[in-house]
Structure formats: C-alpha cells, structure tokens
C-alpha cells in the first residue's frame, strides 16, 4: 500500500506552507493554442477568437486509505511488522499512543502527524517475543557455563585476575573511541604466592596501586594507542612485578629499623628498656625477656598500639598491661604477706 495517496483537492486557508519562504514559481505559458490552419497550411488569424470552452479536468479521486492500523489482525506477528529500529509511523502501529503538552481542557495529541512521537526513540522493535527470538538466534554461538564454577567464590579462586575495559557507542561515522584503549587489571594480593620478603617488596613496588581495605592490586594502562597493546603491557607489568618481588638484591639485607613497614617490638628500644628496668640495678647481659612476667602481653599491647593506631581499646589494654608490669607482686611475697 502506498504511503502517499491522491487526495481530493483540499481547500484550506491559510496554509502553513504560505508561511514558508521558499516557493516554486510557475512560468506563464504563452497563448499558443491557435492550431487551426487553412488549406495552404497557414494559421488562420482570428482577430476576435472564439472563446474555447475549457474542458475541466477532474482528477480521479482515489480515497485516502486511513485506519490501516485498525484493520490489522489481532494475532499478527508484530516483530515482522516492526523488525528493527524505526521512526514512529502512526499508520503501522495499532496502538492509541498519545504525546504532547495539551491545551487546557484537552487531552494529549493523537499519534497522527505528531512530531513529538517521531522524535523520541521508541522500543517497538524490542518487544518480549522479539527479544526471545534474538536470544534463540544467538544461542548457537554460546557455550555452556562450566558447572564447576557455580559460585562467585569459586570463580575468583580459579580466575583471580580481573580484566576491565569499556566499549563506547557513539553516533558518528567512526566506531573508534580513544577511551576504549584503557585496560585495568585487578588481582587480589592473597591469590599470589608470596613469602614475607616478596609481599613486603611487592607492596613497596605497587605503592598506591594497592588498596589495603580490599587487598587488591590495580594496574591501569593507557599509554599505548590500541587495546591489545595496553593489555600486553599490563600483562608484562604484572609478571614483572611478581618476579621482581621474589628477587632479593644484596642491598635489601641492609634493611634498618627506619625501613620497617611495621613496628617490631623485638627490634625496638621498648624491649631493651623493659629488660634493663627489670634487671636494675644490674646491667643485663642479653635482652632475653622470656623470664619477665607479663612481658609477652606487654609486647602484644605495644605492637597493637603502634601498628593499629591509638584508640580507646588499645590504650586501655596498654594501661592494664603496664599496671600489671609495674605493680607485679610475685607469688612468694603474696603468700608470705597473707601469712
């Protein structure tokens, strides 16, 4: 069925077209319809030509077919009527759609000649049966999800590396977007096999790429122009980081107290002070604290206080331990006093 139909001559004044500045201009046709000739072949001059009766041409009026949308069968296959994205067409949509800000006392405008409906994107091609068909068609390209990986925990256990990148959809003749080159690698530190030295070194090498709260190392690469190159570079960085952290250089043995990443009570002055005070007035030969009562508790309290920061709990704990240390009464004395 044709979209454009012949119509009866349509009288309406004024028309919207009258306000559009561009017009088609018809040239005036010269009066050359005197075709009668005499026997010698000359045209006959008629000073007072008899008026030719104009034959009125009637345009064959074809009725404008309207209401195609109403004649559609109820059980028609809609995805074949509207297979893909398309501007709204009122005569092929059998729905009483309305849009527009109405005049007072009126309803929103109907779908006929409604530009607002043509502007907005419609989802008439994305009806549930159409999506179902899409999925059915795509199924042949899919593989089954492995049954062993039934939980997120198992997925992260077997595939600890997470690779993130984005694809961008833009309107324009090119589908390339420079932002799609960026690659992000995320890996949990606990999933890497590291000893004490390697873990310390990998944290120093990673710097602020390591997040203490989530225990994740994030590597972002965007210096190469292509995604593949950035992926390769990120892979190289991760491998290099891992192997470099396992390697121990000679100068790493020179790690001093100031280089420690945490407070080690045994290496600090606090231990020496405790042992010296306990042995006073004699000078202690070695800094062995095993024989000092409550020394182990004191060690834990001081380390916790400095490593985890001061808060009410840790300060209270420290206070209790110090009180125990300072006012410690041996069992013997206690028993004699009571006697």
């Amino acid at each position: 069925m044709s979209m454009f139909m012949y119509s009866k001559t349509y009288f309406f004044k004024p028309k919207i077209v009258n306000f559009i500045p561009l017009r088609s201009i018809k040239a005036k046709v010269p009066n050359t319809f005197v075709n009668e000739v005499d026997k010698d072949g000359f045209r006959i001059l008629e000073l007072f030509p008899t008026k030719i009766k104009k034959t009125v041409k009637y345009q064959k009026s074809i009725p404008i077919f309207t209401g195609r949308e109403q004649k559609m069968p109820v059980d028609q296959d809609w995805p074949t009527v509207w297979p893909s994205q398309k501007t709204f067409q009122p005569h092929s949509v059998p729905l009483p759609v309305r849009q527009g800000y109405p005049k007072p006392g009126e309803g929103p405008f109907s779908k006929i000649a409604n530009t607002e409906l043509m502007k907005i994107p419609n989802f008439l091609h994305l009806t549930p049966p159409a999506i179902k068909r899409h999925c059915e068609a795509l199924k042949q390209f899919c593989t089954e999800w492995p049954k062993e990986l039934d939980s997120d925990a198992k997925c992260t256990e077997h595939f600890p590396l997470e690779v993130l990148y984005s694809d961008y959809c833009y309107s324009g003749p090119s589908i390339r977007d420079p932002l799609s080159r960026i690659i992000t690698f995320k890996v949990k530190l606990s999933s890497l096999k590291l000893d004490y030295h390697a873990k310390d070194k990998i944290l120093r090498l990673a710097g602020n790429r390591y997040d203490y709260t989530s225990d994740i190392i994030t590597i972002i690469t965007d210096r190469c122009p292509m995604r593949k190159q950035n992926y390769d570079y990120a892979t190289y960085l991760l491998i290099a980081l891992y192997h470099e952290s396992w390697r121990k250089e000679d100068w790493e043995n020179e790690k001093a107290l100031a280089d420690m990443e945490y407070y080690d009570w045994e290496k600090n002055q606090s231990k020496k002070n405790l042992v010296t005070i306990y042995a006073w007035p004699e000078i202690p030969q070695d800094f062995n604290y095993a024989h000092i009562p409550h020394a182990e508790e004191y060690k834990v309290a001081v380390s916790e206080l400095i490593n985890n920061g001061e808060d009410e709990h840790s300060i209270n704990k420290y206070k209790q331990v110090v009180k125990k240390l300072m006012f410690f009464k041996p069992e013997k004395n206690h028993s004699t006093e009571s006697e």
Binding site: S2, M3, F4, M5, Y6, S7, T9, Y10, F12, P14, K15, I16, V17, F19, I20, L22, R23, S24, I64, Q85, K86, T87, Q89, P90, G100, Y101, K103, F109, I112, A113, N114, T115, E116, M118, K119, I120, P121, C169, Y170, S171, G172, P173, S174, I175, D177
Partner: protein, 136 residues
C-alpha cells in the same frame, strides 16, 4: 525587558497565523513540552565530533528544504545512532507518490555519499490541517 525573538511568532490581528506544535512552544520549553530536533551523542559531555555534527545537521536541513521545496510541513528531525542517520519529518499528503519515491531515493543516495554514512528518510504524510496546533 527580555528582547529575545528567536522561535517566537507575532500575533496577527485576525488571529489567522497557523502554528504547528513545534512553532507554538517557545525555545525555553525544550525538554519540557517539546523535544530536540537533532538527536545525537555529540553534545553530551565528552561527546565526539560536536562541530562536525552541527555542520552536517545544518547541511542536511539546507539540502532538504531546497530539494523538497515546500513539501515538508514540519521541522526536519535528524536522529543519529551509531553510523546511521535517520531523517524524519511530516510531508504533504496531496502530492504525487512517484515523485516522493524518487525524492526519497535521490536524497538518501546523495546524502549518504556526502556524509559517508547510511542515511534513511522516515517520513509521515499528513494533511495540512492535521499539523496545525493553533492560530495566533
């Protein structure tokens, strides 16, 4: 006083100036009572090629008003998704359909050569009176 004049129409003495819905709503009603005539991703934040898109839209509008002389009753709507350009609008119903078919093919062919994109014309035909919203 606010002297802005674009998108506003003078009231006639006899209240005989017809306006479409698009014309009847002033520019500050865009996104409230009427929507944009150009739909693309160029003008969002960090959108790509905004100026090329604006110039191309201008070219398309000029081309269509010239080629489809007096046939368009509404504004020309240009919608872009991916590399596709969809041109929508309302045209006169009382015109030769064969000429329309020629014009559609001609426009699609030429514009897709110029813009290096597939171009589609998705038109709706309507009577003159259908699109008149009110008289002022």
């Amino acid at each position: 006083m606010n002297k802005s004049q674009s998108g506003r129409y003078k009231i006639t003495n006899k209240r005989s100036r017809p306006l479409t819905y698009e014309m009847a709503k002033p520019p500050y009603e865009i996104a409230h009572k009427k929507s944009w005539n150009s739909w693309n991703t160029s003008n969002i934040i960090n959108g790509n090629r905004p100026m090329e898109c604006a110039v191309e839209d201008l070219f398309i509008r000029k081309f269509l008003t010239g080629t489809w002389c007096t046939l368009f009753l509404s504004e020309i709507i240009i919608k872009r998704n991916h590399n596709m350009i969809r041109i929508a609008g309302i045209v006169k119903k009382s015109y030769d359909p064969i000429k329309y078919y020629f014009l559609i093919g001609y426009t699609e062919e030429l514009l897709s050569y110029y813009l290096h994109c597939p171009v589609k014309l998705e038109l709706q035909s309507a009577m003159n009176e259908d699109i008149i919203f009110k008289y002022i």
